[in-house]
Amino acid sequence: MREILRLVVVLTAICVVMSFSLALVRQATEAPIITNRITFIKLPAIKAVLTGYDNDPVADRTDVDIDGRIVTVYPAKKAGEYIGFAYETEGEGHGGPVEIMLGVDMEGGLWGISVMKHAETPGIGDTIENPEWQRHFKGMSTDTDFSLEDEGGDVQGISGATESSTAVAEGVGKGMEIYEELKDKVAG
């Protein structure tokens, strides 16, 4: 009995101390990591999906509450007027969530999408990174059926990467569903 108690106490104590130090490290590295993520992951994606703006979308970013979920909106403005905005959405891929940046104009049309982060199988599912494939989302809108062509939708599937391309299509579709609400909230 005493022996078992000793096992439990030691292992618990180690876990507690280690989790506590992890919390400290997390706090200490939080700020630079957020800056890095925005500059290295989001900025290139934002630049890829927005066009014709003259403001700084990252500096002008605003957080919008959609049914209790915070969505960050990166506005594209020309001469102070909204011409479109970018925001993030997510699809459920084979290896976890697929993070996608959407760029939309003020009429509900897609300027483009950019897959920012994913954990799809290298060499198979990661073909969703293909810029040419991503470009074919351009011009789709809130009216588009975001399922694969095989299932009667408007999105081209990638052969061999059906699950991953479905994840992207669904993510984009999910993003477009909140478009109207976002537009009302940011540009009134």
Partner: protein, 209 residues
């Protein structure tokens, strides 16, 4: 003192982990595509090995034998997450290139191997464990860098140094050099590793067998 030097230097040649023990091969094959990736991976692993050796050595009389592996893994995983966050915060390029291989240090057999075979042994004092971890980590770094020094110049025609020394790859081959892109692929890594093992065995350990 001589013991400390011995424990440190054994990792650099006599027991250099990937080449002598053929251990920890996953990052050796995957992260030796460029010199900076290999070197950076090595440094990350060195950090983890040294830190986990320190903690495990300090706790070696406290940790009960029955739950030692669980304790080791918790300690190792903590340092892996620390190095992952630190690289993401301060050396983002490396973090991005190494990707999944940083979290995978948790299951690297060199780290657990040193904890189990060296740091947790009652007779090995703290300085010895630090020397052992440092030696093994640096040996691993050397191996990765050596492999990358074959794979990168021949496979890409370049050498990539750490970004704080020189940003971007430096071209080392002549202009018309057509790179063996095969060497950048996993089979190329096996080829280089095999040649390296053969070479190391040819030279021998410096001891009479």
């Amino acid at each position: 003192m001589a013991r400390i030097v011995d424990e440190f230097t054994k990792g650099l040649w006599k027991e250099i982990p990937p080449f002598r023990f053929v251990l920890g091969l996953c990052p050796v094959l995957a992260c030796s595509t460029t010199v900076w990736n290999g070197f950076g991976m090595g440094l990350c692993l060195t950090f983890v090995v040294v830190c986990s050796n320190i903690i495990i050595s300090l706790l070696r009389k406290v940790i009960p034998g029955q739950v030692r592996i669980a304790c080791f893994i918790v300690i190792i995983a903590t340092f892996v997450i620390i190095i992952e966050r630190v690289t993401e915060a301060y050396v983002y390029g490396l973090y991005k290139d190494l990707g999944i291989f940083i979290p995978l240090i948790v299951v690297n057999c060199i780290v657990l191997g040193r904890a189990e075979a060296f740091a947790s042994k009652a007779k090995n004092t703290l300085p010895l464990s630090i020397a052992d971890g440092l030696g093994m980590g640096l040996g691993f770094t050397l191996s990765l860098t050596a492999l990358a020094l074959i794979r990168e110049p021949f496979g890409l025609g370049t050498i990539t140094l750490p970004p704080f020394i020189h940003e971007g790859p430096i071209r080392v081959m002549w202009a018309s050099y057509e790179p063996f892109s095969y060497l950048q692929k996993p089979p190329g890594a096996f080829l280089c590793l095999g040649l390296m093992l053969g070479f190391m065995n040819m030279i021998g350990t410096g001891e009479k067998s």
